[in-house]
């Protein structure tokens, strides 16, 4: 199948000359559905269904970050959508881990639904890897549904080869008091399109995301994060931190959308971008859309290279400029990685990072 469309569409358009309203995307090679097998044993209190088409119908229509224009890609996964469910009132302490090890020149599509029943909690970790210089295409769609007072922590770690293109699409929804947290680390691939949409339709539901990235050597990263506050006293926090070096390009779209009736809602998004080469391209557009009076929304962004004070401090302690930059770039990733409750995954990230971020 082929696709030629725009993805990661922004909820409110602005000047077209900025080329930030969406990301054009086209792909023409065949795509194959891939399963989502759990690594190791499935923890107690979790039910896992490899082909959950019947259950998947109940979750259709949930907004995702990459958007409806990617639906045709994910139709490929019919019969291969995995359902990971935490039973009612069960707090699953061990994370559920799913590894996607991509072959060179592979082209795969997979989908997962994570459901936490009332009062339960679960962490699901998805790790995408391939050979260092492997090429190919991967599309992943993950839907998270947190029941009343339930908690889902979704971790996505992208360590693909240097010629991979990836669409990592996420949609979340919470019932009353429910909470979803998304931790996303993006280090690999040639082109990555990451989209997250979070719906907060219920009283005191909440969402938090922590994203960290490093773009080197021609990598391109395009992100679209959208939080829709509909329920009363809902809360969202989004943090995006990363580094651009060499001839790389990053686009970040972040939207907090306060819908009418979400009285008492609060939303906050923060972005930090470290720029290390004069050939980088950085685009950012943090939006707040507000249709309700009784809310508090904030966003902030800092974009630039390493501050002179910080650099001076480090150099005065014998650290070279290059090392100082590497330390700061690493810190942006490790702050998000520290939220991952699986030491082996953290080690995998740091090893990848140290290998990738070396100077000539």
């Amino acid at each position: 199948m082929g696709i030629d469309t725009t993805i990661n569409n922004i909820p409110a358009l602005t000047w077209n000359w900025l080329k930030i309203n969406n990301a054009p995307f086209s792909y023409s090679a065949a795509m194959n559905a891939a399963g989502s097998a759990v690594k190791g044993t499935v923890p107690a209190g979790v039910s896992y269904t490899a082909d959950a088409d019947a259950e998947a119908d109940a979750y259709r229509g949930i907004e995702t970050g990459a958007g409806k224009n990617t639906d045709s890609i994910f139709e490929t996964t019919a019969g291969h959508t995995a359902l990971i469910k935490a039973e009612k009132n069960v707090h699953v302490s061990a994370p559920v881990r799913i590894d996607f090890t991509q072959d060179d020149r592979s082209s795969t599509v997979s989908a997962q639904i994570i459901r936490a029943e009332e009062g339960s909690s679960i962490t699901v970790i998805l790790v995408y890897t391939s050979g260092k210089r492997a090429s190919g295409f991967q599309a992943v769609r993950t839907i998270c549904s947190a029941g009343k007072n339930a908690y889902i922590h979704l971790v996505k770690v992208q360590l693909l080869g240097s010629s991979f293109t990836q669409i990592d699409d996420t949609g979340t929804v919470c019932e009353e008091g429910g909470r979803v947290e998304v931790t996303q680390i993006i280090l690999g691939g040639k082109e990555t399109y990451a989209g997250v949409a979070a719906a907060l339709p219920s009283y005191q539901s909440s969402f938090k995301s922590d994203t960290a990235y490093l773009c080197l050597n021609g990598q391109k990263l395009d992100m679209n994060y959208v939080v829709r506050h509909t329920g009363r006293k809902t809360d969202s926090k989004m943090s995006v931190k990363g580094t651009l070096r060499d001839t790389t390009a990053k686009t970040y779209r972040g939207t907090i959308d306060f819908k009418k009736g979400c009285a008492g809602a609060t939303g906050n998004e923060q972005e930090e971008t470290l720029l290390l080469s004069p050939t980088v391209v950085n685009k950012s557009i943090p939006l707040i859309l507000c249709d309700e009076e009784d809310v508090a929304g904030e966003h902030g962004a800092t974009i630039g290279r390493l501050g002179e004070d910080t650099l001076f401090y480090m150099q005065s302690r014998g650290i070279s400029k290059k090392s100082a930059e590497q330390i700061m770039a690493r810190a942006k990733v490790t702050s998000a990685a520290s939220l991952i409750p699986d030491e082996s995954v953290v080690t995998l990230i740091l090893t990848y990072l140290d290998k990738a971020f070396t100077y000539e």
Partner: protein, 484 residues
């Protein structure tokens, strides 16, 4: 009570108690909302055709190049589509709009020669008085043409040129006009820039010679009295090397039940080490489509400062752009937008850094009430060659009720690493604690809310000349009436 504007409200309260008066007096809405018949006025046919544009050009005795420019602009207008973003302007039908309405008078240099009804209009708006007390020169446009233009002798003696645009087209500055007219804002920029190119009329030309510093501002005031008409004035200002100017633009119109359009164009050239402050208080009537375009080009070491208050209009698209083309060029934009019932105001600024060590600061406040929609939209663009540049954006929005809407859409594009770009935005409502605090000291709730909003707007009003700051506070107070 954490925010600076809440503290400012308390300061205002303290000042009020000292003076025994809580606020400046109310103003009568009739100051803006009055109208006169178009007695003996010339009005062209409504619509936008080649014949209408040709006749307009002939009537105005344009040079040949200008007529050709108008017709080319019309072709571009017909070719360009409306934007796919921003407020809906589907109810604006150009086929019903008269693009040229000429009052039955020539431009005068003495108020006593201006027809009585027109003179009364500007008297009510306080223009002659302001001229006497605090301005270096005044231009007053009524519908499509300037009816009064004057500049103080001592200012003229310094070589400052401040004249109507039509005279400038034929006078000693004709070549300068041709060299600069619609070169910063081209008809290709967007549909309404093309419309302006086709039917522009009126406006001012200002030239401040090298090294001249004007101690008093110049002011142009634009009044659209005609029903179902458009105003398309062109303002071209050139501030030469090391010179300094403060230019004030005011605009208003009476309210009609049919659409009016304002598609003016402002082009500002700020030369090396020159300084220009461009202040605007816009209070168009609430049937107005305000589709104005403003742009400044700033050379090495030059500074452009925009101070902007947007209170009127049914729909506004307004984003003054600063093109920083010389090293160390600097731009500041300070603006406030107040969107009330029936208004959809899409405002903001664009900062384009095209040279090293340039800097820009955007500070905006927006207020929405009574079902009004306020959108803050901005773009900060830092080109590859603009190393060492700095940009800072701060926007705050205040929602006064749940019928209103406020959006913030700031974009940043950075093409080099040696930059320092910061952005912050906040949106919220008046805190109950601040209102309670003021009420506990004997201030009514309505007064308290009004004072808090004035405090919120203070960073903008303090940048305006005193009389305009008072006018702005009056407008805020007027808008706040009956919000409880």
């Amino acid at each position: 009570m954490n925010s600076s504007w809440e503290r400012e409200a308390v300061r205002l309260m303290s000042d009020a108690n000292d003076s025994g008066k809580t606020q400046v007096n109310d103003i009568d809405r009739s100051i803006y909302d009055f109208r006169y018949d178009e007695k003996d006025f010339y009005r062209n046919d409504p619509g936008l055709t080649e014949e209408i544009v040709s006749k307009l050009s002939d009537d105005k005795h344009d040079p040949a190049w200008m007529k050709e420019f108008r017709l080319k602009s019309l072709a571009i207008y017909n070719e360009l589509k409306l934007t796919n973003w921003g407020p809906d302007i589907g109810d604006l039908h150009m086929e019903h709009i008269a693009t040229y309405v000429r009052p039955n008078t020539k431009m005068q240099g003495d108020w006593k020669d201006v027809p009585q009804d027109i003179k009364d209009t500007f008297e009510k708006l306080g223009i002659p008085e302001a001229e006497r007390t605090s301005l270096a020169g005044v231009g007053a446009q009524y519908d499509s043409e300037l009816v009064y233009h004057n500049v103080r002798d001592e200012v003229a003696k310094q070589g400052v040129v401040y004249t109507d645009f039509e005279s400038a087209l034929w006078g000693p500055y004709a070549d300068m006009i041709r060299e600069h007219f619609m070169h910063l804002v081209t008809p290709r920029d967007h549909k309404f820039a093309a419309l302006h190119g086709a039917v522009w009329s009126g406006g001012s030309f200002v030239y401040v010679p090298k090294g001249v510093h004007l101690t008093f501002p110049l002011q142009s005031y634009f009044r659209l009295n005609a029903k179902g008409a458009g105003q398309f004035e062109h303002t071209l200002i050139i501030v030469d090397e090391g010179a300094d100017l403060h230019f004030i633009e005011g605009c208003s119109a009476p309210k009609y039940n049919v659409a009016n359009i304002h598609a003016g164009c402002v082009e500002l050239y700020v030369a090396k080490n020159a300084h220009l402050r461009y202040s605007t208080i816009e209070n168009w009537s609430k049937n107005m489509y305000n589709l104005n375009t403003k742009r400044a080009k700033v050379e090495e070491g030059g500074t452009i400062e925009w101070v902007s208050g947007s209170f009127g209009s049914h729909v506004s698209y307004l984003y003054p752009e600063s093109d920083l083309v010389g090293e160390r060029a600097r731009a500041e934009f300070t603006g406030i937008t107040f969107a009330g019932s029936g208004q959809n105001l899409d405002t903001g600024a664009k900062m384009v850094h095209k040279a090293p060590h340039t800097s820009s600061v955007i500070t905006t406040k927006s207020i929405s009430k009574g079902g009004g929609i306020s959108t803050y939209r901005s773009a900060v663009y830092i080109a590859k060659n603009a190393a060492g540049s700095k940009a800072s954006v701060s926007c705050q929005s205040l929602m006064l009720d749940s019928n209103s809407r406020s959006d913030t859409i700031p974009a940043m594009e950075v093409l080099t690493d040696d930059v320092d770009v910061g952005h912050e935005a906040k949106i919220g409502r008046i805190s109950n604690e601040a209102v309670f605090y003021l009420m506990s000291r004997g201030i009514s709730e309505e007064e308290a809310r009004s004072m808090i909003v004035s405090g919120f707007a203070n960073p903008v009003s303090k940048e305006l000349p005193l009389e305009y700051a008072v006018e702005m506070n009056n407008l805020i107070r007027l808008e706040m009436k009956g919000t409880l």
